[in-house]
Each structure stands twice: as structure tokens, then as C-alpha cells.
Symmetry: C2
Subunit: 217 residues, 2 copies
């Protein structure tokens, strides 16, 4: 499988997870910053090789084989992210680009030994689940902070947006995975939220809250 094919499979996997159904040509083109015509080209190739189910004008979905392949790429990406953060002291906003490269290294032995070396982690530095070597993914129950009701206690477990800008904002505000958060109140006008973190009350925008996953406690 070529590097380009792997990137398409991964993108389709993420878009499918987000939408729950078939993915459109344009959605793929936008996400990959390429043109729809290029996507159509590739979808035909992937379909010929039985990685995806593709019907003209109808969108695309992964086959069983394609789904497993995509999960293995995600597995590699997230394990490398753990390596970078846990072992090489990268910050969680610095790992994405390097992991994008490392995820294409082909060696089952390598990735399984890396998995063991890291202690078989189940989540990456952003809280996303790491598929195990058979492809199984253990999803964690999580809710967007923007949906939590006043008075509720919760704990930060993940981010929806993992851009460096957002992650740096969280660092600056001392919000990390595992941080306890108490929802205090919502401002009706702009949907901003007052929350309490470690005896500290702060106000965060709706945009921030709708990109932060928490679990209720």
C-alpha cells in the first residue's frame, strides 16, 4: 500500500467516525486539501483493490479489510504520539506532524514491540483510544463540556480539536487530561461558561467548551 493510499484510508476512517455514514468525495477533498477529481481517481483505485465500497455519486465507505487497515494506521499514529510525549518529552501540541510521518513505517514487529515498551497504553496524549493489535478499539464514555449542566463535577478526558493553538490554550489555563472541573454556570447571552478548576474560577467561551471532552463524576 502506498503512502497516498494510506492517507486516504485514514481520512475516510476519521470522516466515517464523525458522520456515521458514507463519506462524500468533496468531504475527503476538503480534509486532505486536494481536489475532488484527485479523490475520484484514488477512490477507484482503492475500490479496485477492495479497500473501500464505492459507487459513483453515492459516496464511499471502508470494507472490512479497509477498516482494519485504517485502524492499524491510527494505532501506529497514536502509539508514536505516546512515545514522543512519554519518552522524548514532546508537548502534546508538538507531536502531530512527526506522528503523521511515523505512522507510515511498515513493520508489525516494530509497532508491537513499541506497544509493549510503552506499557500497552489504551489512550494517546489527547485522550483518543489506541486500537489494540487485533484492531479492537475501546471507546471511552465522554461528553462535551458544553453539554454539562451547572453544579456537575467532571474530569477532562480528551479534546475534539487537537490543533496546537487549542492545546496551548489549555496548557496556559492549566487544563490537562485528568483535571477536575466543576461546572458553575452558563451565560445566556454568549453561552460562555463559568467553571472551577482547582479552587480557581475561570470563564471559558462556548467554542472552548465544545472542543473539550469530559466524563461525569
Amino acid at each position: 500500500m502506498t503512502l497516498s493510499e494510506e492517507n486516504y484510508l485514514k481520512t475516510i476512517y476519521h470522516l466515517t467516525a464523525a458522520s456515521g455514514s458514507e463519506v462524500s468525495t468533496n468531504a475527503i477533498a476538503e480534509k486532505m486539501e486536494t481536489k475532488a477529481s484527485s479523490v475520484t481517481d484514488m477512490l477507484k483505485k482503492l475500490s479496485d483493490k477492495d479497500w473501500v465500497n464505492y459507487k459513483k455519486y453515492q459516496g464511499v465507505s471502508l470494507t472490512q479489510k479497509g477498516l482494519l487497515a485504517a485502524k492499524m494506521i491510527v494505532r501506529k499514529h497514536r502509539l508514536w504520539e505516546v512515545f514522543l510525549v512519554d519518552k522524548l518529552q514532546f508537548a502534546w501540541d508538538e507531536v502531530h506532524d512527526v506522528a503523521e510521518q511515523l505512522e507510515h513505517i511498515k513493520s508489525e514487529q516494530l509497532i508491537n514491540r513499541l506497544d509493549d515498551f510503552l506499557g500497552n497504553p489504551t489512550k494517546d496524549p489527547h485522550g483518543d483510544p489506541i486500537p489494540d493489535r487485533s484492531g479492537k478499539v475501546i471507546a471511552i464514555e465522554k461528553v462535551l463540556l458544553s453539554e454539562v449542566l451547572p453544579g456537575q463535577d467532571c474530569q477532562c478526558v480528551g479534546v475534539k480539536d487537537s490543533s496546537a493553538a487549542f492545546l496551548k490554550y489549555l496548557d496556559n489555563n492549566k487544563i490537562a487530561l485528568g483535571t477536575q472541573i466543576k461546572m458553575l454556570s452558563e451565560e445566556e447571552f454568549d453561552l460562555s461558561l463559568k467553571i472551577e478548576i482547582e479552587q480557581r474560577q475561570i470563564v471559558i467561551s462556548h467554542k472552548i467548551a465544545s472542543n473539550l471532552y469530559v466524563k461525569l463524576i
Copy 2:
């Protein structure tokens, strides 16, 4: 720089080190298992970009810029080999193919942090020197075992051939980096050598001895 360009630079570097002078198109083609026509194509590109000095029919050599780039690729290759052996329990005959992939990952931060994580090693698992982050290479004094005189004590410090077959032979005969070897005698007929390793006398062929580097003690 593309993956293909990196592989050419690395090959030219190794061939230059071995021959000491300009490298021929055919020598590169043979080493890379490709055709001379492909090599000529690439040499023109590399020359346009000022990585190599190239004159038609005259062979090729690295520019200052090309030499540094080649050393950085070798640095990455060897550091990843150390990682695979020291941290992931790979055997020294298993690391080459994976390191060939990992050497192309582009991130100066990654490679320098990996270097620190590994304790700034100066040699890879086969005894070859690792260029430091400025490109400096500390060559170790070494001699082929086939050139050692009878009665001489020495210590294994590297291999010339690092194929899996040769490395496995050394494993089977309990020869590793650091192993003490005493040269006993040479058989005139086939140049085979009798040596002593840890109170054990064995006979090795000339071919083996001429692929094993030692330092005299």
C-alpha cells in the same frame, strides 16, 4: 528533499568512504539495484540542487552541503538502530530494514531528543560511528581480523558486512562487540584462522575474518 534523493546521497556517501574518490554511475546503480539510466537522471537533479559535483562521464562526489545532508541521514539511521536494539530488544541482524524507513523521518527535534534519550551513543549496534548533531564523525581505529598477526590479542569492535547471515553466524559462535579474541595461527592453504575466544579455540574462514573489525590490545 525526496526519499529517493536521500537514498542517493546516502549511497554516494558510503561509496565515497569505501573508494576514497569519485563514484561512478554504474557503482551507484549496482549498489542501489537500479539502472544506470535512472542514476544519471538523478545525478543531474542532485547536481542542479547543489548536493553533488557532477561532470558527465567523470563520476560524482558530494558537495559540502551534500556531505552534511548524507551524514545526517546516516546519523538518523544509526540512532534508530540503537533505539531498536537497546529499547525494543531487536537483534542486531533485524534492524536494518526498519532503520532504512525510519532514517527518512524529517524532524530535527525528534532526532536530537532521541539522541539524548539513548544517552548520546557514539556507535551503532554494528560498531559503526554515529555522526553528532553537527555532523562530526569520530572514527575508531580498527583493523580487519584477517590482518592480525598470530599471538596478538584483540577485541571485536565492528563488522564490515552487516548482513543478517553474517551477524547470525557471529551470534552462533558467541562473537559480539566487545568479545576478546586471541589470534593463534593461520592455515597457509586456505588462509583460515585458528583463534581463541573465552578459553575456546575455533577455526574461522578467511571470509569471516575479513569482515570482522578488531582493535589491538
